[in-house]
């Protein structure tokens, strides 16, 4: 029988071998969909530990990247047992790296951690044009729009995107994140929130829904 507490702690400790061994043993027992969903929730709780350790300075960016990969690997292992079922979705985030910027590491870390926290994330990728953000936001009506960027030019692309979203009467809250983001640039962009770290960004998003 799968010990969910140990699974959570193993994922929080980034003990890949232990996590995957536990999940293999678990899936070999042909678990029910409900049991598989409990395992998913345990893994997601492990990501909360990762976020806490990041905030304490024990983990840093490389660990978050590894944690995202480990979570994806874990969920993939559970997929055959999940069938058509799904975890409870607490909100939808439309996410992308803004126009002119091709970086995606930070965006992908935020995506992994947001999904682990129960958000459905629609990832538009990198170098996302203003119109693409607007059209997709009108189509899926997300609660939150997340814009990422590493280059300082991303700040202006974020501003352009926020202005276009407002002109199109998109009511989603906007959070911006990445290397050049500051309190001042957030005001300049017209965003509702900003962050320079993914773990904090997820907490902010939880407060926005």
């Amino acid at each position: 029988m799968l010990d969910l507490k140990i699974l959570t702690q193993a994922l929080g400790d980034l003990e890949e071998d232990l996590v995957m061994e536990m999940l293999k043993e678990f899936t070999d027992t042909s678990p029910s969909e409900a049991e598989a969903l409990e395992a998913v929730a345990a893994c997601q709780a492990g990501m909360t530990i990762v976020g806490e350790l990041f905030e304490q300075g024990e983990y840093f960016v490389g660990d978050l990247i590894f944690a995202g990969e480990l979570l994806t690997e874990a969920i993939n292992a559970l997929k055959p047992a999940l069938g058509g079922g799904a975890s409870v979705v607490i909100g939808t985030i439309l996410l992308g790296t803004v126009h002119g910027d091709l970086h995606d590491i930070g965006k992908n870390i935020f995506k992994s951690m947001s999904e682990a926290a129960g958000f459905e994330v629609i990832d538009l990728g990198i170098d996302v044009e203003v119109d693409t953000f607007v059209k997709k936001a009108q189509e899926i009506k997300p609660q939150i729009i997340g814009m990422s960027g590493v280059l300082t030019l991303a700040i202006n692309s974020m501003k352009d995107t926020v202005e276009a979203l407002k002109a199109a009467n998109v009511s989603a809250k906007v959070i911006i994140g990445g290397n050049p983001v500051t309190k001042e640039s957030s005001v300049f962009v017209g965003a509702d929130a900003f962050t320079t770290n993914a773990a904090e960004g997820v907490k902010i998003c939880q407060g926005l829904v």
Binding site: I65, F66, H99
Partner: protein, 378 residues
């Protein structure tokens, strides 16, 4: 004052600042990169592909703003060389006025041993072949010619700035040192893969770091410390980027042992090292607290420079002026902040920009003119 005196005074100004001595004014170091082109009549692609145009851009920039020294003389992005090999490592976009470098994965996770066994062979047969898959002997010859042209342009600009503008070079290109982990992070594995390797292949990763350090870095360091660098702002240059993914514990394990040896040798030989830090450094402050003053310059990007100054009074700091303010503030706000930087950081501060200024909205011309006039006269 004679031209020679201007030049010598500038070198002395930098060296005294590095030694945390009181100086008549603060040295003003340009950390402007492709913004120089956007401040000129040329497009990015025009200047970056034409050395005559780039020379005009860089000279006009100096004649307009009059910095004491320059981190870049139009030589940061030798794209003609990589384009000759087939391109694919960057994108120059005139519409968005940006240059983006791609995060490559040129080495597979199971190839650490191969890298350890024979790095030169590994570079040519694996890394190079993956980065430039369409290279032909003709392209290779063209690339060598472009590399020589780039070298000549580099020399020409360095000499021109010394001879005509009396600006010392910041560092000797032969004294650039890079931590072995930077090679893995920047050139071979990429950010994501090396992050995974830190957890899954730590022993192999450390083996590569230690071997590269012993066989390549230490000899390079010894050679660099033997160079006559009296005409340069600093004796050695050490760019840091890969630390951005490391926790203090990982830094202590993966990065610091080699960096400490380098700094110890620099101190032992009474030389200086300019550490250009992308991202943040505050979480590593403890490692730098016992370094004797007068040897290390930290150029900071994202840190609160005032906080670092309090934590590391033994270190000369560079940077400070933010692109947020240069790009979006008023001349008055920029001058007020410049004054605060100089007043609070005191001796041992090289005035510069926090980021490698690259994009149009990183800076407004009137702000830079106002700041530099203030710096010259304060």
């Amino acid at each position: 004052m004679s031209d020679q005196n201007i030049y010598e005074d500038r070198i002395k100004l930098f060296k005294d600042t590095i030694e945390l001595k009181k100086t008549e004014r603060v040295p003003n170091l340009s950390n402007f990169f492709t913004w120089k082109i956007l401040d000129s009549p040329y497009k990015l692609s025009e200047a970056m592909n034409d050395y005559d145009k780039m020379e005009r851009v860089v000279c006009d920039f100096h004649e307009r703003y009059h910095f004491d020294a320059y981190m870049d003389l139009g030589t940061r992005n030798p794209i003609r060389v990589t384009d000759a090999l087939g391109g694919g490592d960057h994108e120059v976009n005139d519409k968005t006025e940006s240059i983006n470098y791609y995060d490559h994965v040129l080495m597979k996770s199971d190839e650490y041993q191969e890298l350890l066994d024979n790095e030169v062979k590994f570079l040519w047969t694996k890394v190079f072949a993956r980065k430039f898959p369409d290279t032909t002997p003709e392209k290779l010859i063209n690339a060598v010619q472009e590399l020589m042209a780039y070298g000549q342009f580099n020399d020409k600009m360095t000499n021109k700035f010394v001879q005509e503008y009396h600006c010392p070079s910041v560092f000797n290109m032969n004294a650039v040192l890079m931590h072995p982990f930077e090679y893995l992070h920047n050139n071979y594995r990429g950010i994501k893969e090396v992050s995974i390797d830190l957890r899954k292949r730590r022993t192999e990763l450390k083996d590569v770091i230690e071997k590269k350090f012993e066989t390549q870095m230490l000899p390079a360091l010894d050679a660099a410390l033997d160079l006559d660098t009296s005409a340069y702002v600093c004796d050695t240059y050490f760019p840091m980027l890969a630390h951005a993914i490391l926790s203090p514990k990982q830094f202590e394990d993966i990065y610091w042992p080699q960096l400490k040896q380098i700094i110890d040798k620099v101190v032992e030989k009474d030389k200086t090292i300019y550490i250009f830090c992308e991202s943040t450094m505050l979480r590593f402050k403890d490692f730098f607290q016992d370094i004797p003053k007068g040897h290390v310059i930290l150029h900071l990007e994202q840190d609160d420079i005032f906080e670092i100054h309090k934590e590391l009074p033994n270190i000369c700091l560079a940077g400070g002026m933010t692109t947020d303010l240069l790009g979006n503030g008023t001349p008055r706000q920029c001058i007020d902040y410049s004054k605060k930087l100089i007043d609070e950081l005191g001796n041992g501060f090289i005035f510069s920009q926090n980021k490698m200024v690259s994009f149009r909205n990183d800076c407004a011309r009137e702000n830079l003119l106002a700041v530099n006039e203030f710096i010259r006269n304060y």
